[in-house]
């Protein structure tokens, strides 16, 4: 950077600085539902400025590949964004994280080919940046593909582990460090970089296969962070401040979300990544509870309970989204509100399959966001509530997490639904949730069980209320 810049380069640097401002401002505005959409638009402006300014860069001489890439990539992105179901948002984000990482690897490799064809050897920090960029990018790409396959059900959600997995990971990282060091010694040895890519591929796959289906929210958040760090690493390769700033922002964002998810599941990050305790979300072989011990209700009984209540808290879980019951629940809530019953929603941080997922699913069903309360805001309110209606949630309302020291859930923050005056649970069966633990709430005196699909049950209740 010691050489004198011509006026055009100065403009480029300042426009990149303005783009960075837009990214920061955009993320700031994403902090409130009122300004969030504007914030996203600010980030778009930043990106547009960055792309246009780069296209004017004098290094660019040939536009054929560029036009092809912009059109093909843009079109694929647009179609996916339009078509994707809100329930599939975790899969989409996982896949896009991967593309971000893949892009970093390609750019770093392309840059390696450029610098290694020059007569003078590249500075050591350029070579190290290339190695880091390739490592993070490739791990993100293949890790994300595995996460996508698990979420999509192409691959079983159960953890896959083998003996000595940690040793293999450690050896892989050491090998990459050694190869990277050798590459700084002789930068023309392209095969070193290829071996680094091969090892990174293995590391990316090994990083995600031991993680169970239930822990996917943590993994997506972490991969989100990696995709940012990959972009920042590319910034180091190209000595581009804007890439470093944007990448670091995303890296920090992903790390915070990872931390929040871990806290909500009462797990440490190391525990999620290495302990492989998550169970397969599709198997239902665990022991089932005894139905004769619970109070079973029909939709007709349930309708009467609703009418008699003056305040209701709805606790949605992923089961609600699976049966696509959001819309009918919203209809029910609106009917009850018209009868002057106070209805609110209590959202656990891990309701859904990625951070904040349940809020999006409810927003899609036109549930106003000011009726959605996060756990810390609402937990005090259960004791003053007539009825807690639990739809497709289980572990996040299990009181054993608070009381039973021997329970695997012990210590996990839960919604205190058992403090409500009465509890109604809509569930297909008494089978336990992800953690495989029985829920004492099912057998409590104040609990009413409604066995069946959330959507069918709520539809029946709405019909009952309409007829009455």
């Amino acid at each position: 950077m010691s050489e004198l810049l011509d006026s055009k380069q100065i403009i480029v640097y300042f426009v990149y600085l303005i783009a960075s401002f837009f990214f920061i401002l955009g993320l700031k505005k994403l902090g409130s539902p009122k300004t969030a959409r504007r914030g996203n638009q600010f980030a778009m402006i930043g990106m547009l400025l960055a792309i246009v300014m780069t296209l004017l860069n004098e290094q660019i001489l040939d536009y054929t590949y560029i036009i092809a890439g912009l059109i093909v990539g843009g079109a694929i992105g647009a179609v996916v964004a339009k078509k994707v179901q809100m329930t599939s948002m975790p899969e989409m984000v996982a896949l896009f994280n991967g593309f971000g990482g893949g892009s970093s690897t390609f750019v770093a490799y392309s840059e390696y080919m450029r610098v290694s064809s020059e007569a003078t050897a590249p500075a050591n920090d350029v070579t190290i940046s290339i190695v880091l960029s390739v490592l993070i990018g490739t791990v993100t790409f293949f890790g994300s593909l595995i996460a996508f396959a698990k979420l999509q059900g192409i691959m079983r959600g159960a953890p896959i582990t083998f003996k000595g997995q940690q040793v293999v990971n450690a050896l892989g990282l050491v090998a990459i460090a050694v190869l990277g060091y050798m590459l700084t010694g002789d930068y023309t040895q392209e095969q070193y970089l290829l071996i680094i890519i091969a090892i990174s591929t293995l590391l990316g796959i090994l990083a995600v296969i031991p993680i169970g289906g239930a822990d996917m929210p943590v993994v997506i958040s972490l991969l989100n962070s990696y995709s940012g760090l990959a972009a920042a690493a590319t910034g180091f390769v190209l000595s581009n401040n804007m890439l470093i700033i944007a990448g670091a922002l995303v890296g920090a964002s992903g790390l915070i979300l990872t931390q929040i998810m871990c806290k909500a599941m009462n797990r440490s990050l190391a525990n999620v990544l290495f302990a492989a305790v998550g169970t397969d979300d599709s198997t239902g072989t665990s022991t089932r509870g005894d139905r004769s011990k619970v109070t079973e209700y029909t939709p007709e009984d349930a309708a009467m309970v609703f009418e008699a209540a003056s305040s209701i808290l709805i606790v949605p879980g992923y089961g609600l989204a699976v049966s696509q019951a959001q819309h009918i629940v919203h209809e029910l809530a609106t009917m009850l509100q018209d009868r002057n019953i106070k209805v609110r929603y209590a959202i656990h941080p891990v309701a859904g399959r990625m951070p904040g997922h349940m809020n999006v699913l409810l927003a899609e069903a036109n549930v106003p966001y000011d009726l959605l309360y996060e756990m810390d805001e609402i937990n005090e309110e259960f004791q003053n509530t007539d009825l807690a209606l639990i739809l497709g949630a289980n572990d996040v309302v299990n009181p054993a997490a608070r009381t039973d020291k021997d329970s695997p859930l012990y210590g996990m923050p839960i919604l205190n639904v058992d403090y409500a005056k009465s509890v109604m649970i809509v569930k297909r069966s008494l089978s336990p949730g992800f953690a495989g633990v029985d829920n004492p709430l099912f057998y409590a005196d104040k609990t009413m069980m409604l066995f069946g699909d959330a959507k069918d049950m709520m539809t029946a209740v709405v019909k009952e209320l309409k007829d009455s």
Binding site: K28, L30, A43, A248, P368
Partner: protein
Amino acid sequence: MDATIIFLIYIFALAIFVGFELITKVPPLLHTPLMSGSNAISGITVVGALISAGAENVALSKILGLCALIFAMINVVGGFMVTDRMLEMFKKDKKENK
């Protein structure tokens, strides 16, 4: 190691700090749009991809650039559009709740 890399590390560390300050203020309500939106921002590698695909390079290097560009553009366009789609759905309650 020259002065440039130190300078870049400074930028990186400060940006991480700004990121932490900003993101801790985002409520859980908006965590999914935050993730898809920040995902689009991480598509900033598009800048590197454009240079790789368009500069006077060997053919293979340009093809790598093209792949990078396609990946990054999917990330950018898809990420921003889907975030906008989600945020459009977040609406306040019209009738005041008693």
